[in-house]
C-alpha cells in the first residue's frame, strides 16, 4: 500500500496542488513570474477557447449517451440465444483493443470529403437517383459536423467495452425472473423493460460514469482526426491545453488544466451522487 501512496502523492497530488500555484504565473519551467488571474482572464476572453467548452460538453454527453443506449441494445441482443454469439461478440469488441491513433487516421481517410470512400459512395447513390451532391464535409465542415463525426468514431471504437460491461451485468440477473414472467405471459419486449433494464442498472451507471469521464478528458482521437480543426471548430479543453503547452505557454496550459479539473469535478460529482441515490432507491 505504501508504494501506491507514495506514487499518488508524488505524481498526482503534488502536481495538482502545485498546478493551483503555477496557473497564476507566467512560467518557463525554470523560473516564474506571478501574474495573478491573468491566465484565467485570457483563457475566457478568447472566443476559440470558449468553443472548447461547448465542444467538451457536447462530445462527452453525446459519446456517453450513445454508448449507454447502443451498448444496452447490443448487450441485450448478444445475450439472447444466438448461433453466432461468439463471433458477433468478438467483432463488436475488437475495435476496443486497437490503437486510437490508427483508428483516427483510418476514419480520417474514409470520411475525406473529396476522395474518401464514404462520400464517393454517397455521390454514386445520389447520382443514381438523379441528385448532384458533394456529400457532407464530415471533417471539414465549418459547423458542428466534424465534432459529431469524431464522436461517432469514438462510439464505434468504445461501444464494445460498454456492451461487455452490460453483458457482465446481465449475466448476474437470475434466470428465475425471466422464467416466472414467461409463465405470466410477458413478451420479450416487456421482459426487457421490466426486468433487464432495472436490474442492469449498476452496470449502466458504470458505463455512464466511465464514458462520461473519458469523454471529458480525452483528445487523442480528435488530435488524430482533425487536430482540433478546421480552425478551432472541433477543439476541446484538453486539446487546447496541449496546444498551449506545445507553444511553450506553460502557465496558460496549467491554468487550462485547473479549469478542466474544476469543470470535470463540477459535472461528475453531482452526476455520481445522483446515480448513487437512484441505485439505493432501486
Amino acid at each position: 500500500m505504501y508504494p501506491a501512496f507514495f506514487l499518488y502523492v508524488l505524481l498526482f497530488f503534488l502536481p495538482t496542488v502545485v498546478s493551483l500555484f503555477f496557473s497564476l504565473t507566467r512560467w518557463s519551467l525554470q523560473d516564474w513570474q506571478f501574474v495573478g488571474l491573468d491566465n484565467f482572464v485570457m483563457y475566457f476572453q478568447e472566443a476559440e477557447l470558449r468553443i472548447g467548452f461547448r465542444n467538451t460538453i457536447i462530445y462527452a454527453v453525446l459519446t456517453s449517451a450513445l454508448k449507454v443506449i447502443i451498448g444496452l441494445y447490443l448487450a441485450n441482443f448478444l445475450t439472447s440465444k444466438l448461433r453466432s454469439k461468439d463471433w458477433l461478440r468478438s467483432v463488436v469488441f475488437f475495435p476496443t483493443l486497437v490503437s486510437t491513433i490508427g483508428v483516427g487516421y483510418t476514419f480520417g481517410v474514409l470520411l475525406d470529403p473529396f476522395e474518401g470512400p464514404v462520400n464517393k459512395g454517397i455521390r454514386a447513390v445520389a447520382a443514381n437517383i438523379g441528385l448532384v451532391t458533394d456529400g457532407p464535409g464530415w471533417l471539414t465542415d465549418a459547423n458542428l459536423l466534424p465534432l459529431l463525426s469524431i464522436a461517432f468514431v469514438d462510439v464505434w471504437k468504445g461501444v464494445g467495452f460498454a456492451t461487455l460491461i452490460y453483458i457482465a451485468g446481465m449475466a448476474s440477473i437470475g434466470r428465475e425472473y425471466y422464467e416466472a414472467s414467461a409463465v405470466d405471459g410477458a413478451s420479450a419486449r416487456r421482459q426487457f423493460w421490466s426486468i433487464t433494464v432495472p436490474l442492469v442498472r449498476p452496470a449502466m451507471f458504470s458505463v455512464i460514469i466511465l464514458s462520461f469521464i473519458g469523454g471529458l478528458r480525452s483528445f487523442d482521437l480528435i488530435w488524430a482526426m482533425t487536430n482540433g480543426g478546421p480552425g478551432f471548430i472541433s477543439d476541446v479543453i484538453a486539446s487546447i491545453n496541449y496546444k498551449q503547452y506545445q507553444a511553450g505557454f506553460y502557465g496558460l496550459a496549467t491554468a487550462g488544466n485547473v479549469i478542466l479539473f474544476i469543470f470535470v469535478t463540477a459535472l461528475v460529482i453531482p452526476l455520481s451522487r445522483f446515480l448513487n441515490k437512484r441505485e439505493v432507491a432501486a
Binding site: 501506491a4 439472447s80 486497437v98 490503437s99 481517410v109 476522395e115 470512400p117 457482465a168
Partner: protein, 285 residues
Amino acid sequence: MNLLSRKQKPKVKYRSIWVEIGAILVTSIVFIFPFLFILFTAGKDAKSAFKLEFSIPEKWYLWENLLTVIQADKYLIVRATYNTLVLTIFSVTLLVLISGMTGYVIQRKTNRVTSTASFMVLTALIIPPAIVPTIWVLQQIGLYKTMTGMVLIEVAYGMAFAILIFRNFVATIPRELDEAAIIDGCTGWALYFRIIFPLLKPVTLTIIIIATVSIFNDFVNPLYFLPGEKNATLQQTLYNFQGRYSTQWHLLFADILYITIFPLVAFIFFNKKIIAGMTAGSVKG
C-alpha cells in the same frame, strides 16, 4: 433421475436465422469494413493506393510495404516496438502488484489511513492529472524523458481504477479465510501472496487486459512525458509517419496494419479469455 436429466437439457430456442444473418451483415459492414480497408490499402502500390478506393489490390505489395515501413528512419519502428513492449510489460506488472495489495488492504482494514486512501482513489479517478506540473516534478527528480519516469506515470494514472476493481473483488473473499491462514501462522506478505493473490486471478486478468490495452495504445502520456526520437513509442511513430507520408497511403496504412497486428494476434489467441476476463471484474466497477 430421468426427470432431472431432461430438465438439464432444455430445448434451445434460437432466434430466427434471418435475424442472425442480418446481425452478421450489419456488424460486418460497420465493424469489419474499416479493417478491410486498412488491409487492402496497405497491400497496394503507391499509385492505386492514392485513389483511396475500397477494393482488393490487383497485385499484393503487402510485404514490400511493411518492409519499407520497418526500414524507415534506420529501423526506428523496431526501436519503438521495443520501447512500447518494455513500457507495457513493466507498467502492467508493477500496476498489478501495487494495486492488488492496496485494494486488499483498503478493503480489509478500516481506519483513518485506509479511508483517506479510498477517498484518494476516487479523486484520482475523476480529476484530470495536472500535466505540466508533473513534468516539472519529474524534472526535479531527474526522471523526465526516462523510461523509469514513464513507467511510474502509467502506474500512477492506472492505479485508481485498478485499486477500485481489486477492492470490490476482495469484498467477495470471505474474511474467515484470512483468519484461518493467520491461525496457521501465515501472515503479512506470505498471507497475501500465498492465499489472497491466487484467489484474485480472474480480476487480475481483467486488470492485465485493460491496462495492457490502454498502455500499449497510450498516445497522450508519452507525448507529454517521453519526448525525443530514441524514446518514441509505436503510437508516436505512427503520428510522425502521418506527417511525413500524408499522401503515401500505402505506407501509412502498412504502419497502421503493423500496429494493429499486436492486438489482433493477442485477440485471436486469447479471445475467450479476454472476454471472460473483462466480464469477471467489471460488474461492480
